[in-house]
Symmetry: C2
Subunit: 231 residues, 2 copies
């Protein structure tokens, strides 16, 4: 993938991939980029914390926040403590954002310091975020946020009431200008370094869950739900 596709090729591109744009084609390690929708969805669905970037007074701001995916739409929890984020989202004009999700899969230890790397999968979404005002859409968005953190949990909790819905800011960001980037595999040392005495290889990294810590006020006999033990 060396550059943006011309318009006539864009129209022939199947619906299984996002159309690359000037800002979703990397200038380095372009072979690690992908526009495959299934891959993008899988990376997004594995996470629940994104890093949301926007511009405030000309300067960049990056905040961690929760997100959920519904089809080709991402919903982002907008109550991050950033007044500009909420205000801009609610202005109706929308807020230009860049939303990034990253999973680390392994530490790549090469014999040379230079070839040390990380195995990772990331998704970068460029677009404009809009405040969700429709109560029904907001309700579905909050369910998606909760289910992204723990699949199946939304149905096993008290839904938000009107007051809570009004107190929650949710931003909507369409999946349109999107790319994934990933590194997989082993060590790429220089041939002349292979005989060096340093251990080389990959240390796998993953997210682990501990033993659920029940709330002290939990009614006696309340079992840990299956969707939690499944994690």
């Amino acid at each position: 993938m060396q550059g943006p596709q011309p318009p006539q090729q864009r129209q022939q591109r199947p619906e299984t991939a996002y159309t690359p744009t000037e800002r979703t084609v990397p200038t380095r390690a372009a072979q690690r980029a992908s526009y495959d929708k299934d891959l993008v969805h899988a990376i997004l669905d594995e996470g629940y914390v994104c890093h949301l970037g926007f511009v405030r007074d000309g300067a960049p701001v990056v905040l961690p926040t929760l997100y959920g995916r519904v089809g080709e739409v991402l919903y982002v929890h907008g109550s991050t403590g950033s007044r500009p984020l909420r205000a801009a989202g609610q202005s109706g004009e929308g807020l230009p954002v860049c939303l990034t999700v990253t999973h680390v899969d392994g530490l790549v230890l090469a014999r040379s310091a230079f070839h040390h790397s990380i195995n990772y999968r990331s998704v970068v979404v460029h677009g404009t975020a809009y405040d969700v005002t429709d109560p029904e859409e907001k309700r579905q968005a909050l369910d998606a946020l909760v289910d992204h953190v723990v699949p199946g949990r939304a149905a096993d909790s008290r839904p938000a009431d009107k007051k809570e819905l009004a107190a929650t800011a949710v931003l909507r960001l369409d999946l349109d200008e999107v790319s994934a980037k990933l590194r997989t595999g082993g060590v790429n040392d220089e041939p002349e370094d292979l005989s060096l005495p340093h251990w080389a290889g990959v240390l796998p990294v993953r997210t682990a869950y501990g033993t659920p810590e029940p709330d002290p006020d939990l009614a006696p006999g309340t079992e840990v739900p299956g969707y939690l033990t499944a994690l």
Copy 2:
């Protein structure tokens, strides 16, 4: 912490904390913010992947990249595939950035969807990133990057040679305008929800490492180093 400190109070602030500024004081959940240097350092030192935000053509860009800390300086791997990032860093004028590091410590499952949350620790750094041109500083920065990923590894690998140093872009960002934000503890449900039948509590989350996967070309008998098994 309700707002920025007036100048006379700033001067009296001990060196153990960063001085809050207008953009490091959150407008929501301000009680979760901290400017304590030891806390900020501890959060930064536990990670190695940051999300670096900058502005390109007026729009935000957020990319994951590696970082390391040396005292009150962060070094950021600038070879991210983004030409504007590298060019701006190398222009001498520096690049306004926002660098964010986030650790997820637990999933907070409340009885109400509204009170679901995440236990986390994050650090947000605002500032200007400059290209590191001094070879000795760049070498130390690369050691810091490698040692952030695996403490003790830099000394057990072949150092970068001149060509490799020249091929690596490293940005320097001073720790000056910095804040931490964290949520800890349990569920904050409404009193009237406590009798609901939904399980509530915290599911701890941590990073786990798998069994090291040696490079196929590893000399037979090369032991897995202690700094890896310590992880």
